[in-house]
Assembly symmetry: C2
Homo-oligomer: 584 residues x 2
């Protein structure tokens, strides 16, 4: 659709950069401040979720936002750590059972790098269509199950105990065995933090507006609940010395900017993480592109799928060069960015700059931040992702969809995220193939005194013992070609007087090579049983393709333009007897 | 189709057994003799190919034929060892790197058992449709590549050297490194055997008929080339003491009937062979059912796919109880059985009896049979399976089919049979999903002074700047629902005056939940951009399904019975301006 030259498609900044001015800067800056307020605590929290040092979340945000601003095709997507990918990162690396923290960090960096390479490759090879195999309902079920696992994984921070696991069963068992060691100071602090965040989200805007603040300012502060909570809890810990009473704090956080370096990693590590990187790339891409697309369309802008792959891939490569972990466009952040008025990717650059300032100057005060505060931020964020309605919707609408949804949900919860999503994708594909492998095929007869042919099971029609008219209501391809063979051969076996079979091809849009060979086999087999095979109403494009083959040599019968013509012709060549079983 | 009661379906012998008489016995016996003549040397040869002791081939045939006669639904299928499955058996067990021959035999028996269980389960669960995922062209490519590997694997017997490998590269390398040790006596004997078999096949029938033999007798003897070759070479080895000159002989062959026992095996062994058993089951089923179906149809009989699964599964269970390896219905043998006049499965029982007699009384004379004779029998048999024409056919007919064929052929040859067939299946499914993930979607306009709407790129039609008519030429499901979103959003981005989008659903046969959610998202997103979404000409069954949901609440526009009505209605509600870019 877009008529931009290809270099501008590849580097969208060349398009919006030269058009940049004071007004767009003012709009982008406002949005950038709001996003930074949300993203700073999120970056820390999702680093914790991914099992990484807090500062690496900030690094991942800085690099992700900056690089995406250069390559991405969406004006409002906010590319940084997100909950689900952080969980998937932790799960992928836990599987490797690494010994030291250094090795763990190296693996996360390698995962971001590999995922970046996969995305960029997919972009250049135009493989974005792979994301289509994740159906909406499967994604919904996967997100709900992942959100539950994430929530469960944070409970230990509320209890102030050690517990682990990568699925709901492991996590619950582990928590139950250590619940007796609960630290109640931590628990009270955690629950209070959740309440603070929820109340600030719901009430703050109303209160501020009623106090006479401008609506825009009010909105900004209403999004600042998590940041506010971080400040409040840090001060509480510091002044009440809560760390002495067992409240776990973040501790030393590396100040200053990350050093940029090409990550070192073994090919062995890449190999063992490749599967996880592939899943993370596809899930990240689907989530990101879905929000980018709806936001763009609301302003009648468009995004380019292949360029999005390159933008997200580059952002992940950037995150890995800065020592971070896999990232993608976050849903709620991007919506905030959009609604706060971001008009170009520069908004992301400004957010990155703000986070950089925080990283350089404010890292020391993060020392007192209690981990349970970050856990509370995570729990509030993922709670809104839990939505079981897809179970009911799919049950009502289609049992086949329900099976895929149910399997994804249950297996993600009980076995883990990777098995869950893989089963979801696999089962949707199998179910689809199963449904199309049994196409609707009808025996048809002529409605008396018309030229119309209708299903003999639904209409009173005229049929003959020597002639069988079959209408196929689907394109023919490998998964249904054997079904057609079986259908025809079984019909033939019950009709001793049969001399002619006519296939009515009005609804056949495609015939692949497998189906063509099936048709040849049917023609030849019927010929040996002294039955002629005819075709009628074959569409133009298919006729063109069949003409490149010797199919019509195999066909013992004719190819008719109209089905009625076929029946009339065969009737003239020999007498046909009406089937006595059918009453007109 | 069949009206038989279910017990008769499950045990077809209850149907044909009571109707059996002298005439059918005479016909079945003649066919049984011909098949036995072919099958005895084949059983020995394919046992060799599978890496098993010669007698186990005979056991597998006896049990396979007998059990299939009880459960199978085909009157003429000859279920016993076949070349491709024997190769796959050898490949599957070689992977396990077992130490002793006893372990090897136990693994082969376990493989037959597991494969039998898989087939029977598939039959009861009515999962026969899984075979549909093997497209005809992929199977052809797989058989050609496998036949080449089988041929190469037999070359060592002609050279009288040691060599091994499970793909063409390994086999060639191994053969090249040992070719200097060639035993020329063996080589000459081998080449002479091939010539003998070919000549007897081509010339014997003519010669016999011209000598005054009856045609039927002539046909039987013309099929006896391999058996003749076995006799001739055995006598040559015995009288000329060729074994002293390096010709390898079969050696001691266990005489007498096999003992029936439930195979003992470890669950670990079953687990490591499960993948191979699954592939062997599916390949075996597809090959077998394909020939059974065409033979049945030629006599206007029918076979039942699910019963065939049970029949083949039971035959494999039988083979494993008798100490054999995986078996299935062989193509050429079954055709011979059919053409020689077999009318009921009793023909298989009689063949089994004949082979039993041979096993009991003639095993000792097999001592002198040179291995190169069996290799020659295999080479002649698989040579006819090699057929590269599918490459050319698919190249001309469809490049997508060609890719799947090419990958199957190359990967089977260079990596191995299991990777080859798995890639073939995987790539055909991916290619199919890729093709349907980009359905034909056309912007349509009205042909002047008619009520017909046609593609604006192909016809001179009237379109409006405020209204977009889009016709979708495919059912909507998860793999193409995002494509539709992208298509519509991109169109909207280029049409600033747009107020209405109408989706014309004449060719939409199904809408799954994923596609439904995409339509809701499209409706909502367009609504936010002040564009109304309408539908037209939705088919009845889809309307019924949509009515179970709240879709029409999301729809900002209307649902019209006819597309023309939609355009007329919207035209009345507000003035539309003809698109100036389009000339009528």
């Amino acid at each position: 659709m877009s008529k931009k030259p290809s270099i501008v498609r590849f580097l969208p900044i060349l398009y919006w950069g030269p058009r940049y001015n004071k007004d767009t800067f003012a709009e982008d800056s406002t949005a950038a401040i709001v996003v930074a307020i949300i993203l700073i605590p999120q970056s820390l929290a999702y680093a914790l979720l991914a099992g990484m040092p807090a500062e690496t979340g900030l690094y991942a945000s800085i690099f992700g936002l900056t690089i995406y601003a250069l390559f991405g095709s969406s004006n409002t997507l906010s590319v940084a750590p997100v909950a689900i990918l952080s969980l998937m990162t932790a799960v992928a690396i836990d599987k490797l059972s690494l010994g030291s923290e250094t090795e763990y960090i190296a693996a996360a960096v390698t995962l971001a790098f590999t995922s970046g390479v996969v995305l960029v490759l997919f972009g250049f090879l135009r493989l974005g269509f792979i994301a289509n195999f994740l159906s909406h309902p499967v994604i919904s079920a996967f997100i709900t199950a992942s959100a539950i696992i994430i929530g469960l994984s944070q409970v230990r921070h509320f209890l102030g105990v050690e517990a682990g696991g990568t699925n709901a069963i492991e996590l619950s068992t582990s928590l139950l065995s250590s619940v007796s060691n609960t630290n109640f100071v931590t628990l009270i602090l955690g629950i209070s933090t959740i309440l603070l965040i929820i109340l600030s989200k719901r009430g703050l805007r109303k209160v501020l507006i009623s106090l006479g603040f401008k609506p825009r300012i009010a909105i900004v502060f209403s999004k600042s609940g998590p940041l506010l909570a971080a400040f409040v809890t840090s001060f509480l810990v510091y002044f009440l010395s809560l760390d002495q009473q067992g409240v776990q704090i973040l501790g030393y956080v590396q100040a200053g900017l990350p050093t940029i370096h090409v990550p070192e990693f073994s090919s062995e590590l890449v190999e063992s993480l490749l599967g996880s990187a592939l899943l993370i790339s596809i899930i990240g891409f689907v989530e990101s592109v879905s929000v980018a697309q709806s936001l763009a369309a609301r302003r009648r802008e468009s995004i380019e799928l292949d360029q999005e792959l390159i933008g997200l891939g580059a952002a992940n490569l950037g995150a890995s060069f800065g020592g971070g972990f896999p990232i993608t466009g976050g849903f709620s952040r991007s919506v905030v960015n959009f609604e706060a008025g971001a008009v170009t990717p520069a908004s992301g650059l400004i957010t990155a700059l703000l986070i950089m300032v925080v990283t350089v100057f404010f890292a020391p005060i993060l020392y007192w931040l209690p981990k349970v505060c970050l856990a509370a931020i995570i729990v509030v964020a993922v709670y809104s992702l839990i939505d079981f309605s897809v179970l009911k919707r799919s049950w009502i609408y289609s049992k086949a969809d329900f099976i895929a949804v149910f399997l994804t949900l249950i297996l993600t919860l009980t076995v883990g995220v990777e098995v869950g999503i893989a089963t979801g994708v696999g089962s949707s594909i199998l179910i689809h193939l199963y449904k199309t492998s049994q196409p609707h095929v009808a025996v048809v007869g002529r409605v008396k005194e018309t030229e119309h042919f209708r299903n003999i099971n639904r209409h009173k029609v005229e049929i003959f013992e020597e002639l069988l008219s079959i209408r196929i209501d689907e394109s023919l391809y490998f998964a249904n070609s054997r079904y057609l063979e079986e259908f025809i051969f079984n019909l033939v076996a019950t009709r001793p007087k049969l001399k002619h079979v006519i296939l009515m091809c009005t609804a056949v849009n495609k015939i692949d090579l497998s189906a063509l060979e099936s048709l040849e086999k049917i023609a030849e087999t019927l010929h040996r049983a002294n039955i002629k095979l005819h075709l009628s109403e074959v569409k133009g494009p298919i006729m063109d393709k069949l003409a490149t083959t010797d199919f019509f040599k195999h066909l013992s019968g004719n190819n008719y333009l109209s089905h009625n013509q076929a029946v009339e012709d065969l009737r003239e060549s020999e007498p046909l007897s009406s089937d006595p079983k059918v009453r007109l």
